[in-house]
Symmetry: C2
Subunit: 218 residues, 2 copies
Amino acid sequence: MKVILNQDVLKDNNKSAAYNRKLFNDHQTLVINIMSSPGSGKTTLLEKTIQALASEFKIGVIEGDLATEKDAERIRSLGAKAEQINTNGGCHLDARMITKTLPKFDLEEFDILFIENVGNLVCPSGYDLGQHHKVTMVSVPEGNDKIPKYPIMFKRTELVLLNKIDLLPYLDFNVEEAIQDLKEINPLSRLIEISARTEDGMQEWIYWIKKAYKQFKV
Amino acid sequence: MKVILNQDVLKDNNKSAAYNRKLFNDHQTLVINIMSSPGSGKTTLLEKTIQALASEFKIGVIEGDLATEKDAERIRSLGAKAEQINTNGGCHLDARMITKTLPKFDLEEFDILFIENVGNLVCPSGYDLGQHHKVTMVSVPEGNDKIPKYPIMFKRTELVLLNKIDLLPYLDFNVEEAIQDLKEINPLSRLIEISARTEDGMQEWIYWIKKAYKQFKV
């Protein structure tokens, strides 16, 4: 019973995701779904990313949270359009929530839309939102064991951002081990080391986005 | 339909939780359910807690994770009994998983049983495991916005451990603001500042456990 319902839920979700994806493609808007634990630094990453890309691209953001408008407000203060989805207890965004929010964006206007998922290393991994790329962030203070302990998330992501590398001198984190663990779980993914706060490594992430955009527009 | 199933699931869970709680009470085992985001430091806290309490109390641990035996192995290496539950993708422990694991413990022998829930600030909050106390950890690198952004978790917890205070000098975290935010969401809860790594503030947490144990045995 539970399994059947679950499959139905995912089937419904996939339908909505396909609808979203068609809309994104029709309007030539590249969509990136960013996932992580609570507090890994997704919003700070987006703040810095918007600042780096704003002169070249028109950027929109959908923010997912259980409660509050805090993240959308942070993005708006940079002059970018942001819409907040509050899941009221739900541990992930689903494709229908995105479908319902899209009318608030004139997609024709936007080159890139970032979706910041609910802070959670489990639930968001199963839900296709219609995005073109899935990016997962993990941060140095969370420790080395996150990649092996949450394999489903890391199996389904193509890029891992290792954030807060400015804290490496104060913590026992082994970057080589993280790269190795990721390779074992998902040989096709890659890892970029960054500090969204100090902007260390941000060029590599920005380059990744620009390349993704170029490939999308071809 | 979805809501009805959900209520049934929670009803079933509450039955199992009541069964567990009776067992814990019959055997005079105090049970503490510890929740947090992935990587906040639950296992390190338990390692240090076991070391601090081992001479006075017989301690057992149930470890919840999507995958791996890593956490149970860390606890066992200290000489304490630990059983690992792998949820295979599930984002929280439920009471039935605990019921199934309890026969592996001779409860009569144990004074205190810690349950380390799956790293997640959303899902575990709704599931009573039969514990006597719920403790939620949040760590300095996760940032100040975690308490307002995950209100359901913090509404349902009686003690918040603010971990990794050794990183305060390197980060923009406002402890007073965290205490204030918690008070607004849950006036009956309290916050203890600790660093499980440097053991700063650990005495207060250990004192809290000893007091809880004393009250439980009365």
